[in-house]
Amino acid sequence: MANVVRTIRKFFVSGFVVFTFVAYALHERVVHSTAPVSGSGPEQTAIALVVPSPTQLVPATPVPSATEIPVPATVVPVPTTTETLVPTAPEVAPTTAVASPTDAPVPTPTAVPVPTDTPAPTTAPQVAGSQYKDGEYTGSVADAYYGNLQVKAVIQKGKIANVEFLDYPHDRRTSQRINSQAMPYLQEEAIQVQNANVDIISGATLTSQAFVESLQAALNSAKS
């Protein structure tokens, strides 16, 4: 009798395991086929509303072999104390400095709101005593480690009116999705180019070496 009970129990347990597996497989199949596909539109979704299915990311440009690696929900350590730090005064704060080509005074264009089609550095050092000829001058292609960087200097009335970026390193290769369940408070959107005027632009620091190099080449050719 005990044998029969044991056999029946085994049967049910293995049956349950098989059923669970099939149910899970079906669930996965359904979830993935109905995962929302985001376009390039300005849609804005609260991630909290997205059920386990992570948003399928559609790159604006073709991405070769985009591998999706789910990130496990990790607990991010939070600092318990963050003191407000007041920078201490420097021992010496020189108000006058030896003039060097890199910190020569720069005439700044007076327009306050920076138009969106103008890159951040609106001015550049001008070598004292030298006059540039009006026009547009393309700098050399400089190696910015991750790619090339090239600038164009626009000279108006003998002064640098603008510096435009013709080339800069960009990389958008692999893809990885964020575990949506781990961040119920975060929101998501597709980035969209804005047209509003701004006072300041926040962005990653320019590749100083490559920037100065390419700009110098452009300025050299601007000299008469």
């Binding site: 400095a97 006072d199 926040s202």
Partner: protein, 248 residues
Amino acid sequence: MKETRILMGMPVTVEVADAGVTAASLEVVFGYFRYVDGKFSTYQDNSEISLINQGALPVEQASMDMRTIFALAEQTKQATNGYFDIRRNGIYDPSGVVKGWAIAHAAGMLRQAGFKNYYVDAGGDIQAAGKNSHGQDWRVGIRNPFNMQEIVKVLHVSECGVATSGTYVRGQHIYSPKNDAESLKEIVSLTVVAPDIYDADRFATAAFAMGTTGILFIEQLAGCEGYMINAQGRATFTSGFARYIYHD
């Protein structure tokens, strides 16, 4: 009055919207950045940080400013669970903490001079106070990581620091002590808004080094909000970030 100089290898812009500002007021700020560069530049062989790295100067005997920076770096390392580390392969490069610290101090110099409406922008990291010359909050654009000529978000800020960490201009300049370089390529830009540029800058750097989970770290930091852009051009932002978004 607004002026830009190339200092510390990047454009540094100072604008003061108050009446009574003179060229000399701005010159004091630029002079301070020159002083910081001379002390902390790893590109100058005779800077104090280079002397430390050459083994010619023990940290304990360094200047007060240098020891302050080392203390701040150590504190930030602990606050970010080791993600922020100025020591790499035995060489110290404190630029990740020096920049925000210098901007905060420069802004403090303007405040002490009696100005109320100004900003200091060093290479895209900003401390802004008061209003712009039109009497509005300062408008800060977040640069498009895929096209430097464009901006993808407009913020309006006052009494705030705004810092962006990214890979798009300097290549992979942020070294993560924990994540491999591959996972860092996922995120191309991470902007942090905080009451102080010192916090915004160091936490933007640390959060960027955390990869895709960095935005969660910002979410959990009191007073800090963040806007992260991934390699596919999608942005994820923290719950309180929307209040900084400018709408026409």
